[in-house]
């Protein structure tokens, strides 16, 4: 690049641009991600044979690896964002990559009733209530 360099972007937008390859929002499997969606690394419980490593996914960035590492135990999208210092949209793009590469799975928060009209889930509310009463 010629000419003087603009001062480093304090908002981190350049970093996000590089991280996401310029994609501005989630698409495909991550489009429905919620801040309370849990992310779990695939195969975290079935440890790979000694000496074997997961195949490196081309284009995988340090942040992708961080997500895979941190989500050996389930972690919400919000917690991931806070730990990695990434806003939701950027994180959602990275999660899309990992979902497409089959490296993570996601579980959306359980809504109290489904849009299909399955009806209010009293059993779930009962479970939440007894959990709170134990606090």
């Amino acid at each position: 690049m010629s000419g003087p360099h603009r001062p480093r972007d304090p908002s981190g937008l350049e970093r996000y641009y590089v991280l996401t390859g310029g994609r501005s929002g989630p698409a495909g499997p991550a489009a429905g991600l919620d801040v309370a969606t849990l992310v779990i690394t695939r195969g975290a419980r079935t440890a790979p044979a000694p000496g074997t490593q997961y195949e490196h996914v081309p284009g995988m960035q340090h942040e992708h690896e961080e997500i895979v590492r941190r989500c050996r135990d389930p972690l919400s999208v919000a917690e991931l964002g806070a730990h990695l210092g990434l806003p939701f949209n950027i994180l959602a793009v990275l999660l899309t990559d990992l979902l497409e590469a089959d490296r993570v799975e996601t579980r959306d928060p359980i809504p109290v009733s489904s849009p299909s009209g399955r009806g209010p889930d009293l059993a779930l509310l009962e479970e939440v209530l007894s959990g709170l009463e134990r606090l």
């Binding site: 801040v35 849990l38 809504p111």
Partner: protein, 206 residues
């Protein structure tokens, strides 16, 4: 509790790993600016409350111009959140909604998938929570009103407050001290009981 030295209460996240089969539910803590949303999240959370940024999708940054952007546009909003382990499989996430009214248009996505909401009200400044209540009603999010009692709050009869806030008689109004864990937990219990009643009413009406 084990004594292996891994249990560090000052760093709950160090031992706060969720079981592999965990599922989540979420509850929103809404209310006007300064009504105690973050305080409530902090008082009941198992983990040290964290902050995450939510980005606006419908006005997402124009990629073509991204490099030229010198100033961060007002497209992100901070959410304070905490977490409560309810049992071996279920974890409750609490999100304090941003109080600034310019972020209200974000709320459609935020409330999707939430069980319900707590709307915190400072009785000294009832009007600061009007917008939050309107938004709950507009988005059909079930909620309870929690009157956060500040040291210099005057006693107000609940019915007077209900009238001032124009709240349906079915919506519970409870008093609380958002700084107190048990009190904040009781507000959440009031919300879940309210949700159960609503669900029971829906089932009966079928």
């Amino acid at each position: 509790m084990d004594l292996k030295g891994f249990d560090r209460p000052d760093q709950p996240s160090a031992t706060g790993a969720l079981p592999a089969g965990s599922r989540s539910v979420k509850v929103m803590i809404a209310g006007g600016f300064g009504t105690g949303k973050t305080t409530m999240v902090r008082s009941v959370s198992d983990i040290k409350p964290l902050t995450t940024e939510e980005t606006l999708t419908q006005a997402s940054i124009d990629v073509d111009h991204l490099i030229g952007v010198t100033d961060k546009q007002e497209t992100t909003v901070s959410l304070d959140f905490g977490r409560i382990g309810l049992n071996e499989q279920l974890v409750l996430y609490l999100f304090g909604t941003p109080g600034q009214e310019r972020f209200w248009f974000l709320w459609n996505g935020l409330f999707k998938g939430a069980l319900g909401a707590v709307v915190l009200v400072d009785t000294r400044r009832l009007a600061s929570s009007f917008r939050a209540i309107e938004e709950m009603e507009r988005q059909d999010v079930p909620f309870v009103i929690a009157l956060n009692v500040f040291p210099d709050s005057k006693e107000h009869p609940v019915e007077e407050i209900r009238e001032a806030l124009d709240i349906s008689p079915h919506t519970p109004i409870v008093a609380c001290d958002a700084r107190d864990k048990a009190s904040s937990r009781d507000v959440l219990i009031a919300l879940i009981r309210h949700l159960k009643e609503r669900s029971a009413a829906v089932l009966e009406s079928r």
